[in-house]
């Protein structure tokens, strides 16, 4: 696999707020325009557009129309959550490399009409969820609290270990003016947080926001003439097991990354020791715990100590979520992790810049379904 003939050249986003009072279409159009402005391109240069959503979002066709495009040659909507972020970007890169499109916009938008953490209206549920919903068991924090409990049982991990992950991200967010939650927390603060679904406290759960993020991808050749240093996706890998059904996965102490990580490292010729910045998908703290082990940064049950010892922050082994992640910057379904990786590899992250950042791992998804991309500041 070689994706390096493609580059991310533009990044854009809206403010992340609790309640914007705006439509998803308006937010998406703003983020896409910002990403085009960032690289000095216009809507007239865009011939591809893609996003992922769970049927909640402004569609690629509508967003293209909203920014004034009347002829879009490649428009792809993927029905998925944050699990598919790496897939969507790798597909966009492949479209650029194979000439299906020259300049592709990738975006994700969420607005207050969608909140994943609660179901407040009466519902009928089909599919596999018909066996779960009637028990009051229907939302992602519940699914992954199940997983975290299993890890605690098998490997002796603790709530304090999950807390170390939450604290690390929140401390990073303190240097990110765009983050929705910027007040650093102590272990006492973490433990005093209200218990949402045991073993998850409020600080273990992503901070749902309104907002949109967009990236612009084009050919490496065209990237050379644009405003900012190009950032190259150099490899990607996905895995889906158990049909994507979290309850049915065979070992909930590991995630999709158990299978995707060996593929990713084989395809890139890299190892965790090479990575400067790791934007780890963190719908929940436990997602970082399980995937961090799977990608090989440490052994099973060692994540708590790794974070407590400062190995996941500045001056350590790898800076994990310098922006604060979904837990503290805001829940943009993981596309905001790519924005941050590009900013870091350009050297434009300001107070939270990771010194000499050249390689970034960005992971996507949780449970049995997800993937990752590695970005480089240099074309290999």
């Amino acid at each position: 696999m070689d994706l390096s003939g493609c580059a991310v050249v533009g990044i854009g986003r809206t403010a992340y707020t609790r309640r914007s009072g705006r439509t998803g279409l308006a937010l998406a159009a703003e983020a896409v325009r910002a990403a085009l402005d960032d690289c000095g391109l216009t809507a007239a240069d865009v011939d591809g557009i893609t996003c992922f959503s769970t049927g909640d979002s402004a569609s690629p066709l509508r967003v293209a129309h909203a920014i004034g495009i009347d002829d879009i040659g490649w428009a792809v909507g993927i029905h998925a959550g944050g699990n598919a972020v790496a897939t969507v970007i790798a597909n966009a890169a492949a479209a650029v490399i194979t000439g299906q499109a020259e300049t592709v916009v990738v975006y994700r938008v969420l607005d207050a009409s969608v909140r994943y953490g609660k179901v407040t209206a009466e519902v009928s549920v089909g599919g596999v969820e018909q066996f779960a919903g009637p028990h009051g068991y229907l939302v992602p924090p519940q699914w992954f609290a199940m997983w975290a409990r299993r890890h605690q049982h098998v490997y002796g991990s603790t709530c304090e270990d999950l807390g170390a992950i939450a604290i690390n991200g929140r401390n990073h967010a303190a240097n990110n003016p765009h983050a929705i939650a910027r007040d650093p927390i102590s272990l006492d603060d973490y433990l005093a947080g209200r218990m949402v679904v045991e073993p998850f406290r409020v600080f273990d759960c992503a901070y749902e926001v309104d907002g949109a993020v967009a990236l612009v991808l084009t050919t490496a050749e065209r990237a050379a003439d644009l405003r900012h240093p190009a950032v190259h996706p150099i490899g990607a890998a996905d895995s889906t097991g158990a049909g994507g059904m979290p309850d049915l996965w065979d070992d909930q102490t590991a995630m999709y990354s158990r299978d995707a990580a060996p593929r990713l490292w084989a395809r890139t010729g890299l190892s965790p020791a090479d990575i400067d910045v790791a934007c780890m998908y963190d719908c929940f703290t436990y997602t970082i715990m399980a995937t961090f082990e799977d990608y090989g940064f440490c052994g099973k049950g060692e994540v708590g100590d790794y974070f407590r010892e400062g190995r996941a922050t500045y001056g350590g082994d790898v800076v994990v979520n310098p922006h604060g992640g979904l837990l503290s910057e805001g829940y943009l379904h993981g596309l905001n992790h790519h924005y941050e990786a590009v900013l870091q590899l350009r050297g434009q992250a300001g107070a939270r810049q990771v010194p000499d950042a050249e390689l970034a791992l960005v992971t996507a998804g949780a449970g049995p379904y997800g993937g990752a991309i590695v970005y480089s500041s240099r074309r290999p």
Partner: protein, 148 residues
């Protein structure tokens, strides 16, 4: 994680999520309505299939629902402390487990653990299905009672 805006409603009066069966899953709910737990099973190789499939995922043979013992083991569990799901806002705290049924490794159902203080639920605990009525409609569903 949000509260819906608008006039206050009595959320405790809302129905819990109701199943929306399809042709593959309907026999599960027909069995619970008559007080039994039945699971989809391949009629050729004997593989139990949950969620149900029209044909076996291993050998593609036809399937049918067969009664199971209802005996299982708690693989993992949660204790819901904050209201999160409609119909259960006034039910917290409650425990939900993933229960591995005795008939086959990995044959798993989610279900509330009842007749026990949620704080006393543990991984590895043996439990047995009991068919209870689901509020707000005509469905019945398996909940799990500890047997240790």
């Amino acid at each position: 994680m949000n509260a819906s805006q608008g006039p206050a409603v009595d959320r405790s009066a809302l129905r819990p999520p109701q199943p929306a069966p399809d042709v593959d899953t309907a026999p599960f709910w027909e069995a619970t309505a008559s007080g039994h737990l039945s699971i989809c099973r391949c009629q050729q190789c004997g593989l139990w299939l949950q969620p149900p499939l029209e044909r076996c995922r291993r050998c593609a043979a036809s399937t049918a629902f067969e009664p199971v013992s209802g005996d299982g083991t708690v693989s993992t569990f949660i204790i819901q402390r904050q209201p999160a799901v409609v119909g259960f806002f006034d039910k917290v705290p409650y425990a939900v487990a993933l229960v591995d049924l005795a008939e086959q490794p990995g044959l798993r159902l989610p279900g509330r653990i009842v007749d026990i203080d949620p704080d006393d639920v543990a991984i590895g605990m043996r439990a047995r299905a009991r068919i209870d009525a689901l509020a707000g409609g005509d469905f019945h569903l398996p909940v799990f009672v500890p047997v240790d």
